[in-house]
Amino acid sequence: MNAVTLENVTISYARHPAVHHVSGSFAHGSLTAIAGPNGAGKSTLLKAIAGILTPDEGHIHIENTSRGHIAYLPQASELERDFPLSVLHLVATGYWHKTGGLGGITPTMKQEVTKALADVGLAGLEKRSLSSLSVGQFQRALFARLLIQDAPLILLDEPFTAIDADTTAHLLELVERWHKEGRTVICVLHDFDQIRKYFPECLLLARECIAWGKSTEALVSEKLLTARFFRDSVHAEAETCERGVV
């Protein structure tokens, strides 16, 4: 069974495709890295799987569409780090699938938040404001929210960018734990060595799918070279894509 299936997916900005005719599937309980050069459509594809963007063409099938099925971690740069929220409040938003906009946070939930914060190495920082956290601590707090969300499908967008080695190692342990628990994890990453070491599966993306399979087989020099030749500049006078038009 597949957790996520992509069927000829194209997603574009102002008619220029960022993800172009990509098909394939993420198996249940798989741990997949999405790699590729800047502008290759990695984040775009992840956003589409999360339901934030809609494909112009093709379909994305998510096997389980129940509330709270997907946990999505955006790129750190998309969030305002000095937003006036406490760490406790941020992590507790992970209960959204249970509380919605009106439900209360129970004492049990608060205990679980405390435990999740301890798990990510932020014990005792519940009352701190987000603006007082370092980049690494902020990312740890977001991982605590993922723990609280407790979702079977986890999407991570460049979770280790600008994060130090210790924190990365700690957060990678959490990713491995999710994998062992049978959750499906899809993670956008840049570090090929990291992918080979921790991520069994890899989708090498350069607007189109260059390779998708075992990391050790996908990340070989020949395919990486193909991906590197991908130009992220869009052609101002590109012709209309006729692929798939009958």
């Binding site: 956003k47 709270g68 969030l79 305002e80 929220l85 959204w96 009106l102 603006s131």
Partner: protein, 290 residues
């Protein structure tokens, strides 16, 4: 002059002073929390744009019903909602950004409004609409203002958490299967409603005064949203109270007196606030040991 004469007597002796104070209290309670969210969403200028956009609606009502506050409020409400809808949609379907879209729409709207009033009324009427007159609020208007505040507070309470999460991380809500777009629309509707309230008291040019000035000022004192909302309401009400007294004792126009009082709090906060103020910037204290 005793303290009693200075602070309470005007409100006890004169009905128009009491009505003004109640109207301002309602605007503070309904509007100031919205101001906090406007600042948080970096929409303070968008709020300003919508407040000016109310004018043609009020002007058309003035054309048909004369200087009736409730008719002008209804006209303003319709115009405000229409402008928010048009500018919001233009922003989504064209390449216009939020600030440009709202500025373009409100300038057109304001110009049309001034033309309509100039065609029919006189300079006094125009002044009244542009700058409002809190002392002229009658019981019908007061009822409208208080109703708006009630609806606004209850609605904001219901969408409070969704609004905060949508503001911080809109992708999170959508991935969690909840759309945040409706919250933004509802927020704009609340904003227009409260601007219509404030417009009767402070006019279209300064309607945001009691809503946004306190909201900006409190960001210098508290780092929590709940705290900012509570402080903003309090500071907005106190500004109105002092402003009305200044206007009474020194025979000043009430709108500018109120906005200037709120402005004094704002300036004091910018200079001496606890977080990120001029004082903090230029007089750094010794750092902690850890």
């Amino acid at each position: 002059m005793t303290l009693y004469q200075l602070t309470l007597e005007p409100f006890i002796d004169y009905g128009f002073m009491r009505r003004s104070l109640i109207a301002c209290a309602a605007i503070a309670i309904g509007g100031a929390p919205l101001g906090v969210f406007l600042v948080l969403r970096r929409m303070a200028l968008v709020g300003d744009a919508i407040s000016h956009a109310i004018l043609p609606g009020a002007a058309i009502a003035f054309l048909f019903f004369g200087l009736s506050l409730s008719a002008m409020a209804t006209g303003g409400l319709i115009a405000g909602l229409l402008i928010a809808l048009i500018a919001g949609s233009l922003m989504r379907v064209t390449q216009l950004k939020e600030d440009a879209s709202f500025t373009g729409t409100y300038l057109l709207s304001l110009a049309v409004g001034v033309l309509i009033i100039a065609a029919r009324g006189n300079a006094v009427d125009l002044m009244h609409v542009l700058f409002g007159n809190v002392l002229a609020i009658d019981n019908t208007s007061l009822l409208l203002i208080c109703s708006i505040a009630t609806v606004s507070v209850l609605t904001l309470a219901a969408i409070y958490r969704t609004l905060i999460v949508e503001c911080f991380d809109s992708g999170f809500l959508r991935a969690a299967g909840a759309s945040g777009a409706w919250v933004h629309q509802l927020f704009l509707v609340l904003l227009v409603l409260n601007l219509v309230s404030a417009f009767q008291a402070l006019g279209t040019l300064m309607a945001l005064g009691l809503m946004v000035l306190p909201a900006i000022a409190v960001r210098f004192w508290t780092q929590s949203i709940d705290g900012a909302v509570a402080l903003a309401i309090a500071s907005s009400f106190v500004s109105a109270f002092i402003g009305l007294l200044l206007s009474y004792h020194f025979n000043l126009p009430s709108g500018p007196a109120i906005v200037l009082t709120a402005g004094t709090f704002y300036l004091a906060s910018v200079l001496f606030g606890r977080h990120g103020s001029v004082l903090v910037h230029f007089m750094p204290r010794r750092h902690f040991a850890s």
